[in-house]
């Protein structure tokens, strides 16, 4: 349930960052699935997620996500800490 809520929020963030309302992500979505998800836009995504959840990822964390599920896990972990 928590995951679903986060994915919903992430979907909104993805749509805003990529300026594309057709985007629909789930835990298995990877950068390869979304045309605009390159290394540059990835950074914008990281910053947008940080802002939304009032958290800060470490430099290493933000580089090691392989799919949306990893992002969800990182958010949950950060929220647990704070």
């Amino acid at each position: 349930m928590v995951n679903e809520e986060i994915i919903q929020q992430l979907n909104i963030i993805f749509r805003q960052v990529f300026d594309n309302n057709d985007i629909s992500v789930d835990e298995t979505t990877t950068a390869a699935d979304l045309e605009d998800w390159d290394s540059l836009n990835h950074l914008q995504l990281v910053v947008a997620i940080e802002k939304h959840y009032h958290i800060r990822f470490t430099a290493a964390q933000a580089q090691n996500w392989s799919n949306v599920g990893d992002i969800v896990a990182a958010i949950i972990q950060k929220q647990a800490v704070s």
Binding site: D19, L40, L43, Q44, V47, T58, A59
Partner: protein
């Protein structure tokens, strides 16, 4: 008006830019510059300008500038932005052996880059940045006493860059150090994206940086603010003059008066720099005037206000009235009002005008306005300071005119004199400024740098004119110039002619043409040729040559001066 976020700027890139004026710009950076480029292009579109950008590959400043066959020179930009990161510079400093001369070496390097660009593209403007004066905590605060410390060398370098920009008219700075001081390095720098992509600016800071770069470029291009219009109650002072009375409004020591005193001090500085200050307030005029005349703690006085509009009419109408007295474009005006309703009304009714969305708390006003960098300029001369007085004189003239039976009688009474001279070292800075500033009375909108004007003085193929105008009300200063190019022994071509709109309807146009005709005849020419190149703003001179009896010949206007020339009567004496 506020600063939009980076996503907004990115979305701007999808907008249709056809019809927007285009500027060619090259971006050379020693850091990852993709986001910066997007932000700059997006901000330019926000301003209604299309930047065609050549973005060099990562860290190619030297190669692009020093190789004469590089893509940079092939692209031939009007503006080159050289962006250098303090982070890379710091590493360079740590590796350097000669630390006490590091700043000097960097200044030499910057000047060399600048000169190399100019030697290939002589009209090019080069913009580079100051460095962030962050103490690297190697010597701590003791660094002040150590010439070989990074903090000392950074300060020296920044000061040296300012001096370099003062000497080199085509070199401009975007003061990143000042921006970072304002926002804080913790805000402008995001270590995560620095590590991941070698970007030295946070995503939130990109729009601020892009705005400042656009401000510098567009003000060079002639787009900048000339006037600030102030609301009074709860904007210029605290409280409501009509209710609280002169003793009750907050200014100076009373209540939150400090806020408004400091705001007024700042506006007075703007006025002294040449920004016109006007008032637009919903008030009874006598009541609104009283603090300006009699309140001991008011900083702004009546002599600081070029046009004073206090009545109960719609503010948009009043702003239009102010604009017509000042004769400037709406996009050169900033309107400050604490009331969101009035702001929305003015924004809606007057496209082009800048209306900052003031913070709710007046204590934030001044910092907020400074952050917006509304009054960027690309030139400053001593004469700028007298502008308010000139507009006040203009308002007096407008009133006096109503008392004369006809225009001729009025003009004759003004006792107008004009000093007519070729360009010289005194007039060239003002002529260059006029060529950059005037958009309305500007026949071909050719913008001249001081260097270009200097070159004309020493050339046989140019005849140059500057005109001043004085009258019984005062001195308008240098208000017009004309550049004439010798096409052959018979024909003189008006390469450009611009005039300040302050002196319209005074017979100046006729006077200038008569001067030109008289001199041309003496030098054996038989024909004066002119051209009108339309822009979005110079409609007012579309019919000018026709009204001066020039004859249309395809795209040009021609005046045969072998037959005696008679135009309209004028009342200006040549001195």
């Amino acid at each position: 008006m506020n600063i939009p976020d980076f996503n907004h700027l990115k979305r701007n890139l999808k907008k249709v830019v056809t019809g927007m004026p285009t500027l060619r710009m090259a971006i050379l950076a020693d850091m990852a510059s993709q986001f910066i480029t997007q932000a700059i292009k997006g901000y330019a579109i926000e301003y209604g300008v299309n930047f065609v950008v050549f973005e060099a590959d990562y860290n190619q400043i030297d190669r692009q500038i020093l190789d004469p066959n590089s893509e940079l020179y092939e692209f031939a930009p009007d503006y080159v932005l050289i962006l250098r990161g303090t982070e890379r510079l710091t590493k360079q400093f740590y590796k350097a052996d000669a630390k006490t001369t590091f700043a000097d070496a960097q200044l030499g390097y910057t000047e060399n880059l600048h000169q190399t660009i100019l030697s290939s593209i002589s009209h090019c403007r080069v913009i580079t940045n100051t460095f962030i004066e962050l103490n690297d905590a190697v010597f701590g605060n003791y660094a002040a006493k150590v010439p070989s410390s990074l903090p000392f060398q950074l300060k020296k370098l920044n000061l040296g860059l300012m001096e370099l920009a003062q000497i080199n008219k085509n070199l401009f700075l975007v003061d990143i150090d000042a921006l970072v001081t304002h926002h804080g390095y913790r805000y402008t720098f995001d270590s995560k994206i620095y590590v991941a992509a070698d970007m030295v600016f946070s995503i939130d800071f990109l729009p601020v940086l892009a705005k400042n770069i656009c401000d510098v470029i567009l003000s060079i291009h002639g787009k900048f603010k000339k006037c600030i219009i102030l609301d009074l109650d709860n904007t210029t002072w605290g409280g409501i003059i009509g209710d609280d009375g002169m003793e009750g409004i907050q200014i100076g020591d009373l209540g939150t008066g400090k806020i408004f005193s400091e705001l007024q001090l700042w506006i007075k500085q703007l006025k002294q720099r040449g920004i016109i200050v006007a008032v637009c307030s919903k008030n009874t005029e006598e009541i609104a005037l009283e603090p300006f005349k009699n309140h001991p703690e008011m900083v702004l006085r009546l002599e600081d206000i070029a046009v004073f509009m206090a009545n109960w009419e719609n503010k948009a109408d009043n702003i239009r009235a102010i604009q017509s007295v000042l004769n400037i474009n709406m996009d050169a005006i900033v309107f400050i009002d604490d009331n969101p309703f009035e702001r929305e009304l003015v924004k809606k009714e007057i496209p082009g005008i800048t209306v900052p969305d003031m913070p709710e708390d007046p204590a934030e006003y001044l910092l907020f306005l400074k952050k917006l960098n509304l009054f960027e300029t690309a030139s400053y001369t001593e004469g700028d300071a007298q502008r308010t007085q000139q507009y006040q004189e203009e308002a007096k003239r407008t009133i006096k005119m109503q008392k004369f039976a006809n225009e001729d009688e009025f003009l004759a009474s003004l006792n107008m004199k004009s000093v007519v001279a070729s360009f010289n070292s005194f007039t060239i800075p003002r002529v260059s400024q006029l060529s950059q500033r005037s958009n309305q009375f500007n026949l071909r909108t050719v913008r001249y740098t001081e260097e270009e004007l200097n070159a004309m003085v020493n050339s046989d193929s140019y005849f140059t004119y500057s005109f001043t105008l004085t009258d019984t009300f005062g001195d308008n200063g240098l208000i017009s110039f004309a550049v004439l190019k010798k096409i052959n022994d018979d024909i003189l071509f008006i390469e450009n002619w611009a005039m300040s709109c302050r002196v319209l309807k005074r017979g100046m146009e006729q006077f200038i043409i008569n001067c030109i005709v008289a001199d041309a005849l003496q030098n054996g020419f038989s024909k004066i040729q002119g051209e009108y190149i339309p822009t979005a703003k110079n409609m007012m001179v579309k019919e000018l040559y026709q009204s001066l009896h020039f004859i249309s010949n395809e795209n040009f206007w021609e005046l045969d001066i072998t037959t005696p020339y008679t135009g309209k009567k004028f009342y200006i004496k040549r001195v």
